[in-house]
Amino acid sequence: MGAVVEDKILLAHGSGGKLSHDLVAKSFVKALANPLLNTLDDSAVFELSGRLAFTTDSYVVSPIFFPGGDIGKLAVCGTVNDLATSGAKPLYLSLSFIIEEGLSLNELEKVVNSVRKAAGEAGVKIVTGDTKVVTRGSADKLFINTAGVGVIPEGVSISGTNAKPGDRVILSGAIGDHGIAVVSQREGLSFATKLKSDCAPLGGLVAEMLKASPNIHALRDPTRGGLASSLNELAQQSKVSIRIEEKEIPVREAVLAACEMLGFDPLYVANEGKMIAIVPPEDADKVLKAMRKNKYGRDAAIIGEVGAEKPGRVVMKTVLGSSRIVDMMVGDLLPRIC
């Protein structure tokens, strides 16, 4: 046997042999323990009733640690939030690692620990998982895939196709924090900012919004492509127009300043802890109030309205009172931010 480098991930950690077993037992199961995971069977077996929501997402953010979070927290929150956009209560997640040979065990444990914390906050359990190790250069440190299931409460029907003319557009808080926090750490681009990623699980926020009004028509979390792209998707899916007001959209001064420097438009910068809600006008104030009571919706604001004319179009009234089209994002503003 050659020298064992204890503090780095080796190819053998993914081989299915002793090292793999130890890694799973010591690093993963210990941290994420729950009855379903503890069995270590090849699949998690459980019962659920009602309408289910099921989703999956892969996380390749670079760098894997950024102000306000890391790839582990992101992998939990991203999938939890995708479930929440259908109104579902998120319950169970799978967690699959693709690790580049040479990753420090210490870093991996930090990531697993933040998976644990985020899952705890979101009230979800990691019930199954997998680990693969690939040769140096075949991945960049660590990629994670998660899938999740949740149960949709009775009487809730949420879809991007449901927006109706007259509906109000509510945004849960300031945009652009995640994209700017991640890019501030990039090599060749790094700049000092106190900004933190907004990465957060929004299952609780959505549950409180639905308690205020089960009639919410559509929900969307504006991740890659930012607010602008999500609104365009909603307008196209529902065949409606959306008109927003620039002065109502919360953006932090630090995000504005960074965007000026980098030539970005905050409308296109990614978020990982924000929700857009399309709500019938009579319920808008109730939902807004409920959002503002939750710590992830404190700065929520009604930013616009759904219209019937020119389906698929998003128009913004600028701070000067003129209006302009807000298009889908074209190309890649910032690669690998989630």
Binding site: G188, G263, T318, V319, L320, G321, S322, R324, D327, V330
Partner: protein, 364 residues
């Protein structure tokens, strides 16, 4: 003072718009020279807010857009030479040259690196001593000083494998050429803010004096533009023409002497090729004989076939302010930001890109 939100205030904006509408009587055409101004004008829908007496046209102030195909072909040819790494600002990658683009060359195996600053290119050279690193030096008086500084640093740090393909262009000479052509009649010029931060206000004075055209140097926020337009209107209505600085927080009349001296040490004026305008005397900067060993043109055998233009693309006319993107048959159909045919659709500061993204041609 935070320098951003204050310059986007809706109350102050409304006041300026009201004053412009009240004051403007004569029919007049203003050109915003700079692509950065074009973007602000579209992003804030400023054209809609101006009275019908004022027409705004975009000028040739987008460094990527005005780079001629022949020069782009040279950068692509350099990337084909074994052992050469071409370093460039990101936007340049996608611009189609006569037959290829740097992006395509890269996909086919050429070493092309995107950098955010000139000094990154120098660092690449230092880290790859066995290769030659050629930085594609594009831009106006704003980027030229930083590139001059990189050459002086290369000398100081003994980095012998760093070269610059100097395609720098100067703003006042191209405006003169534009005015001399008689193609566009201008009643006022929104002078570039960042260029003027370097060269100051004096180099614009001949335009006010010899051509009788009011000139106001503007910043890049919506209120900057509105204030600049208001000052231009004021001069027009009074029948005056002089150079004024609306962008006082960025520009001093004498400019930035340190930056100007850096440029003087490394560069000398030369003719330059502009897309849509051909060669204009004294409108470029080439590396002087003292620093010739850093000059890519002098040190590599660059072979290119004669440059060809893209059929149907009217970027050249758009850059001269003679036509708008809406006049182009390719705009929004064959030519989109995803699949650009001309440079004005590639660059974030290009007129076509601004029209496309902010719905310039498609109403509200």
């Amino acid at each position: 003072m935070k320098y951003i939100t204050e310059f986007r205030s809706s109350e102050l904006g409304e006041g300026l718009i009201a004053r412009i509408q009240q004051r403007s009587k004569r029919k007049v055409r203003f050109m915003e020279f700079c692509g950065g101004h074009t973007v602000t004008i579209f992003r804030y829908g400023i054209r809609q807010l101006l009275p019908p007496t004022i027409e705004m046209v975009s000028g040739p102030g987008c460094p990527i857009c005005v780079t001629a195909n022949a020069d782009l072909d040279k950068a692509i040819a350099l990337s084909q030479i074994p052992g050469v790494i071409v370093a460039t600002f990101g936007d340049m990658l996608k611009v189609p040259g006569s037959r290829s683009s740097l992006e395509k060359a890269k996909a086919e195996g050429a070493e092309v690196r995107t950098v955010y600053s000139t000094m990154d290119a120098l660092n690449i050279a230092e880290a790859n001593r066995d290769k030659s690193v050629v930085f594609m030096g594009i831009g106006f008086e704003t980027t030229a000083p930083t590139i001059a500084a990189s050459i002086l640093q290369a000398e100081e740090r003994g980095i012998e494998n760093y070269y610059v393909l100097s395609l720098h262009k100067l703003c006042p000479p191209v405006i003169k050429a534009l005015l001399d052509s008689g193609e566009v009649e201008l009643g006022g010029l929104v002078c570039p803010g960042h260029v003027s931060a370097i060269i100051g206000s004096h180099p614009w004075e001949f335009i006010a004096r010899e051509y009788g055209i009011p000139c106001v140097i503007s910043g890049f926020e919506p209120l900057d533009i509105l204030q600049c337009v208001e000052m231009l209107v004021e001069q027009v209505e009074k029948g005056e023409s002089r150079v004024e600085i609306a962008y006082r927080r960025g520009v001093r009349p004498e400019g930035n002497q340190i930056a100007l001296k850096l440029m003087e040490r490394v560069f000398e004026p030369s003719p330059a090729r502009w897309r849509g305008m051909g060669e204009i005397a004294g409108s470029g900067l080439k590396i002087n004989s003292k620093y010739q060993r850093f000059d890519a043109e002098a040190n590599f055998d660059i072979k290119t076939a004669p440059a060809v233009e893209h059929k149907g693309c009217i970027c050249g006319d758009i850059l001269r302010g003679v036509k708008t993107p809406a006049d182009c048959k390719l705009f929004g159909k064959a030519c989109t930001p995803q699949n650009p045919i001309g440079p004005c659709m590639v660059s974030a500061e290009g007129s076509c890109s601004a029209y496309y993204l902010y719905g310039g041609g498609r109403g509200g």
